[in-house]
């Protein structure tokens, strides 16, 4: 119980449809106490399956997992008392009001009636739903539902929280609001495992990132480490015209580890030693008499990392996912 690891998974495997679909294939994970770990991967990578096993909803075919030292299969009931689950498929009852949803979950977690009332009112306040608390959830916007869903997972103030794609299908403003809420939770000491297919979200919220594809971990580390592993910095120079960019690219080619990338008036170089190469590039441009309009030296984005690791773009068509909600969508997703 005194372990500093809040969530631990060893060799989790799970197949669906009698072995046809391998959702998880030897999945390992360690989430230290009080940290946010982002589980990043494309659709069908196994993120949701991992969360469903860790939250005791699904039993693994092989491997084991513990939450604060408690086994998710053998001690499932005890695990359920210390976790919260929110996200795309754990949901709220739209015929009940926001307040009724929270009190129902509180009662099912065996809190006393007065405790449940106080907690529901506090959470509605905290999540900006105080005015909407008495209305049936079917009148709520998508962002309000997600906030209520998150609030419902927090009724018992669980030390470990699973957020399964918490902002999928949300508009940017609601997403930012939800990020702030998650930040506040983490600063209060909650351990969070967050799955997402948005690199920006993992970068913004998670201290450590685990990249998963085909049911296995393919990379892990802090966002900075993952980017550093890619091993290069991007130098972008913007000139006055596309023609000068093209001729500048030719004279700068030997500075870049890959062929220079020309996009309109902008030349992109992949460089090893950022600042010194930038200085050399500027000298050459000056000597050739080009007018430099802009210069940008940046670390690779997680997008670049993801592309390098999985060979495909991370941000897939999320509208399609948002539309196929519910059980049918879930099954399709796991099989994809």
């Amino acid at each position: 119980m005194s372990s500093q690891i809040a969530v631990e998974a060893n060799g989790l495997s799970k197949t669906f449809r009698n072995g046809e679909v391998k959702a998880l294939d030897g999945f390992d994970l360690e989430v230290p106490r009080g940290q946010v770990v982002g589980l990043l991967g494309p659709n069908g990578a196994g993120k949701t399956t991992a969360v469903r096993i860790l939250s005791t909803i699904l039993q693994p075919d092989a491997g084991s997992a513990t939450i604060l030292g408690l086994d998710v299969v053998k001690q499932a009931t005890q695990v359920r008392r210390i976790i919260g689950l929110a996200g795309q498929y754990a949901t709220v009852d739209e015929n009940l009001t926001g307040y009724e949803n929270l009190t129902m979950v509180g009662r099912l977690c065996h809190l006393s009636k007065p405790e449940v009332r106080t907690r529901a009112t506090d959470l509605l306040d905290q999540f900006g739903l105080a005015d909407a608390g008495g209305r049936p959830v079917k009148t709520y916007s998508g962002g309000m539902r997600r906030r209520l869903d998150l609030a419902a997972s927090l009724v018992t103030a669980p030390p470990v929280l699973f957020l399964d794609e918490p902002t999928t299908g949300l508009d940017p403003q609601s997403r930012l609001a939800l990020w702030d809420v998650i930040d506040a939770l983490v600063s209060s000491g909650t351990t969070v495992l967050l799955t997402t297919q948005y690199l920006e979200e993992a970068d913004r919220l998670a201290k450590d990132i685990v990249v998963i594809d085909h049911g296995r971990v393919i990379a892990k580390g802090t966002p900075a480490e993952l980017k550093a592993d890619l091993g290069s910095t991007v130098l972008e120079l913007t000139l006055e015209s596309a023609e000068s960019a093209a001729s500048a690219a030719a004279s700068l080619a030997d500075l870049s580890t890959k062929a220079p990338h020309v996009d309109g008036p902008t030349v992109g170089l992949t460089v090893d030693a950022g600042p010194s190469v930038a200085a050399e590039a500027l000298r050459r441009i000056d000597a050739a008499g080009f007018d430099l309009i802009g210069l940008n030296l940046h670390e690779p984005s997680l997008d670049d990392v993801f592309l390098a690791l999985t060979g495909r773009k991370a941000e897939v068509d999320t509208d399609a996912i948002a539309q196929t909600s519910g059980r049918k969508g879930r099954r399709t997703k796991e099989s994809s």
Partner: protein
């Protein structure tokens, strides 16, 4: 933190299971009254059945013993209606599954039987209201129960228990159905033969010989005969049907409830 690993005693497990069933029952009943349109139309359907059989088909159906058809009919309509009411267990569960609510419930430290227990209890409460409503409608169209109020109440209990047993079978269907629409469609092939190839609407003698064997012994007929014995009596006095219906109900419950609970535990 040490109390996290301790297992609760059996007595407190049962107490919590009852509390959880109560919580889920309340939630289901709240959801029912929040959709008044569904409530209205689900009440309208049995009323239309009463009027249809009482005034359209009734004249063509001869009942032995010279009792009015409406007295013969009402116990049949009662049982048919509560059987259809039991099917709502399948639809409700399939809907909760489809919307992801059951996903949330399964990650909560609640009793594993509460989702099914709360659903069937709520549907049973609904059937109580349906019986009250149908009694009023029946009295309005000329139904005149014979026998004491206690007999009538016992008749109601017999069919409520029967519907409760059926609900666990429908719960199984609801858990296996891919969508709530599919769940609804899947209940028809069960409901139609059971309620129409029975003694609910016509006397056994009027059925062709090859159907009589099935129609006489199948559980819906036995339940109808039990209710008829208690509410109408006379030529339909049949105490063995009352015992028969209770036996069917208990037997079905013992088979169907574990089946449904197992299906719930094995959801993936």
């Amino acid at each position: 933190m040490t109390d996290l690993a301790t297992r609760p005693s059996a007595a407190s497990s049962i107490r919590w299971a009852m509390t959880d069933i109560g919580t889920i029952t309340k939630r289901n009943l709240l959801a029912t009254i929040r959709i008044p349109e569904a409530l209205f139309f689900s009440a309208l359907q049995p009323i239309m059945f009463v009027l249809l059989f009482r005034y359209v088909f009734g004249g063509a159906i001869n009942v032995p013993g010279g009792i009015p058809y409406v007295n013969f009919l009402m116990p049949g309509i009662f049982v048919q209606t509560i059987c259809f009411g039991a099917a709502s267990t399948a639809i409700g569960l399939a809907e909760d599954l489809q919307k992801g609510l059951i996903e949330r419930f399964r990650a909560l430290p609640m009793s594993r039987t509460a989702v099914l227990g709360g659903r069937t209890t709520a549907d049973l409460v609904r059937n109580v209201f349906v019986i009250v409503l149908m009694t009023i409608v029946g009295l309005a169209v000329g139904f005149r129960p014979v026998g004491t109020v206690a007999d009538y109440a016992l008749g109601c209990l017999v069919m409520l228990l029967f519907s409760f047993s059926l609900m666990w079978g429908f719960a199984y269907i609801g858990l296996k159905a891919p969508t709530s629409e599919a769940a609804q469609l899947m209940t028809f092939p069960l409901l139609f033969p059971l309620t129409f190839l029975s003694t609910a609407f016509v006397p056994l003698q009027s059925l062709p010989g090859f159907l009589q064997g099935f129609a006489q012994h199948q559980p819906v007929s036995v339940c109808v005969n039990a209710v008829r014995s208690l509410m109408v009596g006379g030529p339909f006095h049949n105490p063995s049907a009352v015992w028969g219906s209770l036996a069917w109900s208990v037997g079905l419950l013992l088979v169907l409830a574990p089946l449904a609970v197992r299906a719930y535990r094995r959801l993936s």
